[in-house]
């Protein structure tokens, strides 16, 4: 007789995402496995399998003898319904075993909107949601890594510990620590004590947070000798670091269904709104030789006919020209597409564009982020109008006729003049098309999109208030009224999600109850418009007596203790404050390649100096 999973699968959408069995999936012998890890990605298969971090760690952990790391993803609604109706617990794709069979349950949390999925997956896996309810046995240890753990406080009740920073070395140390604890028969609490000694491991329950009457933090007290600060870990030797070339090739289409090559980690720029830019400091490149070797091996192993170069600001790779030439010599005769995303306006070179064009004409995107030079200087986005117009002109002359421009609304110091500046810049781009296009009959489409600025922890804007959703929508309407052209399409992000993001990313432990309540009310898949329910979230806030505006729309005082201060990304608060002041003076800070401005991240990098 057919088992339950196989009876359900024919009824759900895209069943191949629940089966495993893909090429290069890793199957091990359970009998000789000492540590079983469920690597959980709190989003769909299609998103999770497109994440390089997950692929790297899956590879590394499975290289360990006696360790088997399997994958779990959040089921889509139709599947979840079937699972709940038939009481079928969440399973790992490789063995089809339920979450309960695993020692370590590791979540990779890239952004706050995945929190509700973490709770939902634990529940579907029949694991108690709160760490304090998981007993004292050494099993079902739930931990998390990823950008969100730079402020894990809203998740503090649910995570046994956090792995802070890059996981290549850290995760191996954690698993070894667990293996040794298991051999010695330690309890959960004893294990947590041991694992907390590994640099980069943060155990929230080892810290007590006390509050002032106004709700801000009075003090964070480390208990029983827990370290005062937990500093993120980074990979010291990028060329020597593991990078998977034999990776799982999904049997169903995913978001990034191609080979992805990471050129370097970190970003030299320091745009003041950008959390990734600061969290991944310092910049550490791979050598062109190593990259070529990885690229060819990955392409040949997977059989993909497309490769993306992926890094925070790919065009800042010092030897990009040299490397792209070599790569194109390999790709062109084989009919392999090489796409270069996230090109910046300020070094978008003509030759590079022509080379890309040889293989395929991809769309043009620029992210000036703000409409006026004054505001671009304030946010340290070192792109000038001239740069953008020059790059666009070249592209238009070369036959491109579609441009996407990305901006943010609600940036600190923004006025209506800056909002209108977006429209003015857009019209200048349109004018450039009229002047340079060789074939005007095809028309031109400029897509302008605005996101609602979210002040993030780990950036110079961590003290800022977010503007209210009403004010954001007013600015959107103002901008729309200034761009009536048929050639311009304007799309703005909805305000609710960004407001919730602003609450969670700088939230404290009082939000744990809100998360739990939101989960009970059915919140999940918040990153998907099909599922996101702001009214449920608002109910959760009110049920818990928490005012979301206090988190999103409150400017913090200079000396306020932040809830996330135990965890350090290696950049000093002093530096961030200096950057914030520079923003208010609309003063730019040179990038790391031009001049080190002493953020502190170099102290993490024994292999330093940064960018070498």
């Amino acid at each position: 007789m057919t088992d339950l999973i196989n009876r359900i699968l024919p009824r759900v959408q895209k069943p191949a995402r629940y089966t495993g069995g893909e090429y290069n999936e890793i199957i091990k012998d359970k009998a000789s496995t000492e540590v079983r890890i469920a690597f959980c990605f709190p989003d769909t298969y299609e998103i999770g399998m497109s994440n390089i971090g997950m692929r790297i760690l899956y590879g590394i952990l499975n290289e360990m003898d006696g360790v088997w790391c399997e994958r779990m993803f959040a089921p889509w609604g139709d599947m979840e319904e079937e699972m709940r109706r038939h009481d079928l617990p969440l399973w790992a794709l490789e063995s089809h075993d339920p979450m309960e069979d695993f020692d370590l349950i590791a979540f990779s949390i890239g952004y706050e909107m995945a929190y509700s999925n973490v709770l939902n997956m634990l529940e579907l896996g029949h694991i108690p949601l709160k760490s304090c309810d998981r007993g004292d046995d050494l099993k079902h240890i739930v931990f998390a890594g990823g950008t969100s753990v730079y402020n894990a406080e809203p998740m503090a009740d649910f995570l046994d510990f956090c792995a802070v920073g890059e996981g290549e070395d850290l995760d191996v140390e954690i698993v070894e620590c667990y293996r040794s604890a298991k051999r010695r028969g330690l309890s959960r609490r004893e294990f947590l004590r041991e694992v907390s000694k590994i640099p980069g491991v943060y155990v929230p329950s080892f810290y007590r947070h006390t509050y002032h009457e106004d709700g801000t933090i009075r003090e964070i007290i480390p208990l029983d000798g827990a370290p005062e600060t937990v500093t993120k870990r980074i990979v010291q030797d990028m060329d020597g670091a593991y990078y998977p070339t034999k990776t799982i090739v999904p049997s169903t289409q995913i978001v990034h269904d191609r080979t992805v090559l990471e050129l370097f980690r970190g970003c030299i720029r320091g745009c003041r709104f950008c959390q990734a830019g600061f969290c991944y400091r310092p910049v550490r490149p791979k050598s062109p030789d190593r990259l070529y070797e990885l690229a060819v091996a990955s392409l040949e192993n997977s059989g993909y006919d497309e490769m993306t170069l992926s890094s925070l600001s790919t065009s800042d790779y010092k030897k990009l020209g040299e490397f792209a030439d070599r790569m194109l010599d390999y790709c062109i005769p084989r009919g392999i597409n090489l796409s270069l995303p996230s090109l910046r306006a300020d070094n978008f070179s003509v030759e590079l564009m022509e080379k890309v064009q040889k293989v395929r004409k991809s769309g043009l995107t620029f992210a000036p982020e703000a409409g006026t030079q004054r505001l671009r200087d304030a946010i340290n986005k070192n792109v000038t109008e001239e740069d953008i117009l020059r790059s666009c002109s070249v592209a238009f002359a070369g036959g491109w006729n579609k441009v996407k421009l990305y901006f943010m609304l609600g940036l600190p110091t923004e006025t209506d003049e800056d909002v209108i500046g977006i429209a003015e810049l857009t019209y200048k781009v349109l004018k450039a098309w009229k002047e340079h296009s060789p074939n005007k009959s095809r028309g031109c489409t400029i897509t302008v999109s605005t996101a609602f600025f979210v002040p993030k922890n780990g950036t110079p804007f961590q003290w800022e208030a977010q503007i209210t959703p009403e004010e954001y929508l007013r600015r959107c309407a103002l901008l729309k009224s200034k761009m009536p052209s048929k050639s311009i399409r304007y799309a703005y992000h909805p305000s609710d999600l960004s407001m919730l993001e602003a609450v969670l990313c700088r939230g404290d432990r009082k939000l744990c109850d809100v998360l739990l309540r939101a989960h009970e009310l059915g919140c999940k898949m918040d990153g998907w418009t099909d599922y996101f329910q702001m009214d449920k979230w608002m109910q959760a806030f009110s049920d818990c007596g928490v005012d979301p505006a206090w988190y999103a729309q409150r400017e913090r005082g200079r000396d306020e203790v932040f809830p996330w201060e135990t965890v350090s990304i290696g950049i000093s608060k002093k530096f961030f404050w200096r950057e914030r002041e520079a923003a208010y003076r609309s003063e730019i800070t040179p990038d790391c390649r031009r001049q080190c401005t002493g953020c502190g991240a170099d102290r993490l990098y024994q292999g330093g100096p940064c960018d070498e």
């Binding site: 007789m1 057919t2 009876r7 699968l9 024919p10 895209k14 069943p15 191949a16 629940y18 089966t19 495993g20 069995g21 893909e22 090429y23 999936e25 090739v249 049997s251 169903t252 289409q253 040949e300 192993n301 997977s302 059989g303 993909y304 006919d305 009919g335």
Partner: protein, 219 residues
């Protein structure tokens, strides 16, 4: 034209027809071989699978047409060269040259397994067999215009019912493969309609062979 005979079973039965087609050129590349490209605006490696298989149905008689770029590769070496590179459940059984057109393919033999969690009696088994001997079997079929009634009887050559276990029956069926084609799940639809008390708790189909119009195996 080069042709492959392959099977799709186990976890692979959930891979859609389009995803299966997209997969093959990659498998060839992994093995260091190349499938010829189409011409035109957006050239791509061209492969074509006869009789799209619905998600959830297994098969050991799938046919894939392609043209190999390399002309010095003996086709009989392909199964061994390609098989290490598939996802679980897909395996090439043979590779050969064929000039027979897919449109000559006429009949399909498949086994539909009916599962009854509470068991199934011999009487039930007989009733199902009798159903498929009726002169007319009307089932509801989804069309572009909504649900429509169709008589599937003309598309059925034969259906034999046999017992696999106390709770499982097998419908050994020989049905039309194309123009018009009969989805074997509609055999289950017929049971649900005419013999609702004998509707199975679960049913799955497995293709076993394809034939031409004179009932000779089609390759």
């Amino acid at each position: 034209m080069n042709r492959l005979l392959f099977e799709k079973t186990g976890k692979a039965i959930y891979i859609s027809h389009l995803d299966t087609m997209a997969m093959f050129p990659r498998i060839f590349l992994r093995a260091g071989l190349h499938v010829k490209f189409t011409r035109g605006m957006s050239p791509h490696a061209y492969v074509s699978i006869a009789l799209p298989l619905s998600v959830g149905t297994s098969s050991c008689c799938e046919l894939l047409d392609f043209t190999l770029e390399e002309d010095n590769v003996p086709l009989e070496t392909l199964p061994a060269r390609l098989n290490p590179y598939f996802p679980a459940g897909i395996r090439v059984l043979s590779a050969y040259d064929s000039d027979r057109k897919i449109k000559e393919l006429r009949y399909l033999r498949c086994t539909v397994t009916l599962e009854y969690d509470q068991g199934i009696s011999d009487d039930g088994c007989r009733d199902i067999e009798a159903l498929f001997r009726q002169d007319q079997i009307l089932v509801e079929k989804k069309t572009k215009k909504g649900l429509a009634e169709t008589d599937i009887r003309p598309m059925i050559e034969s259906v034999h019912v046999s017992r696999i276990s106390s709770g499982e029956l097998a419908l050994e069926s020989l049905i039309c493969a194309q123009n018009p084609s009969l989805n074997p799940q509609l055999l289950v639809g017929a049971i649900e309609r005419y013999l609702p008390e004998l509707a199975p708790d679960f049913a799955k189909a497995h293709r076993t062979e394809v034939f031409d119009e004179s009932f000779q195996v089609f390759r």
